[in-house]
């Protein structure tokens, strides 16, 4: 049995602390230790992206990161995307554009897409598709997911334009 390690991780703005086995995957820390079950597991090999969260402001696959590696970091999950009862624009865009069907890949898709559009709201369709290459969806054929991301991007650009 390995020595437990204390981790302090800020999750969706709240500091959380726990003693964990070093082998505990970040996704299981979120799901089982904290009860944040919006982050999903769909494969064993870092391919499907259903477990995508933001770590230090970047989209990562939480199934391939040990909770101990995230010690001292900020994590944002799908549960932390809406604020003050208002959906995040990417959530809104997925809803408006029918960017989901069964919903299982959706949190990961929203997280990776939100990361992209926060950084590059002018991303082209090709760039959006390339950015989604680590997230698998079996329901939508990606068509409406791409449309949703484009929609959110265009709204982000409008907002940036209005603000400047």
């Amino acid at each position: 049995m390995s020595r437990a390690v204390r981790v302090r991780i800020t999750v969706n703005g709240e500091p959380r602390e726990a003693d964990v086995e070093p082998r505990l995957l970040l996704v299981h820390f979120l799901r089982d230790t904290l009860g944040l079950t919006g982050t999903h597991v769909g494969c064993d090999t870092s391919n499907c992206g259903a477990c995508t969260v933001h770590l230090g402001g970047e989209a990562v696959k939480s199934c391939t990161i040990l909770a101990v590696q995230a010690d001292g970091s900020e994590v944002r999950t799908i549960e932390g995307m809406a604020s003050d009862g208002a959906l995040h624009p990417m959530q809104e865009a997925f809803w408006a554009n029918h960017g989901l069907q069964c919903g299982y890949c959706t949190p990961g898709m929203i997280m990776v897409a939100a990361d992209l559009i926060e950084k590059r709201p002018d991303a082209s369709e090709a760039e959006i598709r390339h950015t989604l290459e680590g997230n698998l969806c079996r329901c939508t054929g990606y068509h409406n997911i791409v449309k949703a991301v484009q929609d959110a991007a265009s709204k982000a650009r409008e907002e940036a334009g209005a603000a400047s």
Partner: protein, 813 residues
């Protein structure tokens, strides 16, 4: 005149309203099986065979049992008290199906990699995985057979010694004078077409929680068929059905792979009863690729008879179906769904489909999105292309020449089923409004000058869905052991909001939203006021579940009819209270009002108030406002459409890129066009996956080569284009809504369009035929071989024997 036609124009049907289902799913508040935790819950891990075929010599679980974090380790002999093996529901009259017993844990012998041998139950998710590795199983290897053609040869190793053969069953369906058709044929085209093994791969793997308390079991499971799981569990566990409650919570995709009764569901229920604590098992993706049902995997020996003018006169298909090692719920029935529509869109007077089921040391195949119909469309459409090549005819002209004309509907086809409605010419015409074929041919020629190889491929398809009717599908007909109706209860609450309980059990299709649109139209309320409840045997009526594109055409019609009955009662109440005739009451502007006097009317809330506080109801009327429908259709429904695909092939590397995909589909009047498009997108992507990327592959020792998502290659957004979709709307006469299913249409239509596009691109190199999957290496090999052959006609696809249309075993059976 149907009830629907009596009503005022729809307020919600036909509109692309956004989905009711989405708010929890986009905020991380979905509830899939793995999101559920119960107090005192244990976890299970399954020890699986790494041998493809072996006798179990011994199982030593002592080390695992000694661990403090392990509660129990069970093996096959611990399940002796199960009353029946896992179910297989196809018992066709006059056909003998030789089937092995299939238990949740192997007894004495394992027959495929992944066959469960033991289950380890312990305190947490991680430690049971450790403990499972400490269960030591000694195997004595037995001979393995992986190839279905080899399995039929004399002297082949037997998957099940006790059956004495690898041939499970033979079955034929057809009609017309086939011998005459071939005797009189002016041209005969033959092909051996491989439709390889794939996997459904819902992104949520399977998972089950069993909780047994006070002689009652609650089972949460990721399934498409909760009621059928309950029924079967009752029989296997020897427990009265009323003591069992099966719940399909949010289900993260199915695609046929969750249309089953799986060993793990029985196992968990059994263990929870034995241990007195709730137990959770969540499938890993590696397990999912090993032991969640695969799809397709048939070899089709096809012969097509025609006249020189292009008239198709006969079609003979011999299907070898690779069953795998066991029969799951519907395994042997799958090719038959294709056989029903082997005519495709064409008027073919004589057709026979002969099916041979073959055991191999692989996991079971069963339904995967389309189930038999993608295979049928694939072979029919490729054969039409082959015939066009043979006759040097334009393949679209050939199609038009043979289309069943619009005026022939309802049209009985050679298999004996009756196509309900269709307009295949209109569908193809609409497709060609989107695809300027002449312009493409010019562009294609210009690009070829630059060394760029683009091609276009077409698929015109018709499919059979809306499974029902019971008298055709059920025990005395096709032989499935059940009824195939669907149920619904529509309950209007005293406040005027409504709840629909449906026996359908969706997993992403948007059923709640679609149902709410037509139910709200029928009741004069808003879709937000309609809640749709499903997937829980403890709340709704018995139902058959969601598969075979049946949820709208059967389940939806049922809900619509129940809502219609409620509306009818409401009309009588309103007529009584407003002193009008019931037939003069219409639903308009969100109210029940007197036709011609829009100022006289009542809202549903007012009607409900009157129904629940029955001070002034019509004479003899019961209080309350709730109705039930059990709907068993008179016929299947037959959606259809025309698709086109443009592909570009890098002829140096064999890599293919889908440049453009256009789909025109007809599933009757649209309830919600946005949802239809979404279904088509996903279906087309699934089929492109099969055509170009995905393959379940075993090596000759029966080891699974594609056991993770690294090797089982689902296409990603980076591989696919955006799709173009359009519709025609030909109502079905079968149901009042006029609707047909669309969940499988894209998957059924698309593979031949993709393959034909690639062949079209490579035709100048002498290639006229290719088998899937069109992986770069296979395409490159085909190009190399065609070059070696000097670009002579015919083709040389990797892994295929073109021209070898005759079946190897017994030929004309």
């Amino acid at each position: 005149m149907s009830a629907v036609e009596q009503e005022a124009p729809a307020r919600f049907v036909g509109r692309s309203l956004r989905r009711k289902e989405d708010p929890p799913l986009i905020t991380g508040k979905g509830r899939y099986v793995d999101d559920i935790s119960l107090p005192g819950m244990l976890h299970a891990a399954i020890v699986r065979s790494h041998e493809a075929h072996a006798r179990i010599v011994s199982i030593d679980a002592s080390a695992a049992r000694e661990r403090a974090d392990v509660v129990a380790v069970l093996t096959g002999e611990d399940l002796d008290d199960l009353l029946a093996p896992l179910p297989m529901a196809w018992v066709p009259p006059d056909v003998e199906v030789k089937a092995p017993e299939h238990w949740p844990l192997a007894r004495a012998e394992v027959c495929h990699v992944g066959d469960p041998v033991a289950v380890v139950i312990g305190e947490d998710r991680y430690s049971v995985v450790d403990a499972a590795e400490e269960v030591l199983v000694e195997y004595e290897p037995l001979p393995v057979v992986v190839d279905m053609e080899a399995a039929l040869e004399d002297g082949s190793p037997l998957v099940h010694e006790s059956l004495g053969t690898n041939r499970s069953h033979e079955w034929s369906i057809g009609g017309g004078d086939l011998d005459g058709a071939f005797a009189d044929a002016e041209v005969v085209v033959e092909r051996r077409i491989v439709n390889h093994r794939t996997a459904g791969t819902a992104i949520e793997p399977r998972g089950t929680i069993a909780d047994w308390r006070q002689d009652s079991l609650t089972l949460w499971t990721s399934t498409q068929i909760p009621h059928l799981v309950r029924l079967q569990l009752a029989g296997m566990l020897g427990v009265s059905e009323d003591r069992l409650r099966v719940i399909a919570p949010d289900v993260g995709g199915g695609f046929g792979s969750k249309l089953n009764v799986y060993g793990e569901e029985v196992l968990l229920a059994h263990c929870a009863r034995r241990l007195g604590r709730p137990i959770k098992w969540i499938e890993t993706r590696s397990e999912n690729l090993q032991t969640t049902t695969h799809g397709r995997d048939q070899i089709d020996y096809v012969r097509l008879a025609a006249k020189r003018d292009g008239t198709i006169t006969g079609l003979h298909v011999k299907i070898l179906q690779d069953l795998g090692a066991y029969l799951q719920l519907l395994t042997p029935a799958v090719p038959s769904l294709g056989a029903f529509v082997m005519s495709g869109c064409y008027k073919i007077p004589a057709i026979r489909t002969d099916v041979v089921g073959v055991y191999t040391n692989k996991f079971a195949t069963d339904a995967v999105r389309g189930a038999g119909r993608p295979e049928a469309t694939h072979l029919v459409e490729l054969m039409v292309e082959q015939l066009a090549t043979e006759l040097e005819m334009d393949s679209l002209e050939l199609r038009r020449k043979n289309f069943i004309p619009k005026e022939d509907f309802p049209a009985e086809v050679a298999s004996g089923v009756i196509y309900d409605s269709g307009d295949y010419h209109a569908s193809l015409d609409k497709l060609l409004e989107h695809v300027d074929l002449d312009a493409f041919r010019r562009e294609q020629a210009e690009l070829r000058e630059q060394g760029i190889h683009r091609g276009i491929g077409f698929s015109t398809y018709t499919e059979i869905c809306g499974l029902a009717p019971s008298r055709i599908v059920g025990p005395g007909g096709f032989g499935l052991q059940g009824g195939f109706w669907e149920s619904a209860i529509v309950r209007v609450h005293p406040s005027g909001a409504a709840t629909v309980f449906t026996g359908s059990s969706p997993h992403g299709e948007g059923l709640d939203s679609g149902f709410a649109q037509f139910v709200s139209d029928r009741l004069g309320i808003d879709p937000e006021q309609v809640e749709v409840i499903h997937g829980d045997t403890g709340t709704g009526p018995f139902g058959m579940g969601t598969y075979g594109s049946r949820s709208l055409a059967v389940g939806g019609e049922s809900a619509s009819r129940a809502a219609g009955k409620v509306a009818e009662k409401a009309r009588r109440i309103v007529a009584h209270m407003l002193e009008a005739a019931p037939e003069d009451i219409e639903v308009a502007d969100g109210r029940f009002q007197v036709r011609g006097s829009p100022d006289k009317g009542m809202t549903l809330a007012e009607v409900a108030g009157a129904a629940y506080i029955p001070e002034d109801l019509p004479e003899g009327m019961e209080p309350g406002l709730e109705e039930t429908s059990f709907y068993d259709p008179e016929n299947f429904v037959f959606p259809f459409g025309a698709h086109a695909c443009i592909c570009e092939v890098d002829v140096e590397t064999g890599k293919i890129r889908v440049v453009r995909y256009v789909a025109v589909d007809d599933c009757g009047p649209a309830i919600n066009p946005m949802l239809i498009d979404g279904q088509v997108h996903g279906g087309v992507a699934h089929a492109i996956g099969q055509a170009l990327y995905e393959q379940i592959a075993y090596d000759e020792d029966g080891q699974l080569v594609t056991g993770t998502f690294v090797d089982y290659a689902l296409p990603t957004a980076a591989e696919l284009p955006s799709f173009e979709t359009d519709r025609t709307e030909t109502p079905s006469p079968v149901n009042e809504l006029g609707v047909k299913g669309v969940g499988e249409a894209g998957t059924i239509a698309a593979t031949p369009a993709v393959v034909s596009a690639v062949v079209d691109a490579l035709r100048p190199l002498g290639i006229t035929f290719l088998d899937m999957p069109l992986t770069p290496v296979r395409v490159w090999q085909a190009i190399e071989q065609a070059r070696t052959n000097g670009g002579a006609g015919g083709s040389a696809p990797a892994g295929s024997r073109p021209g070898d249309g005759a079946a190897p075993d017994g030929g004309e059976s």
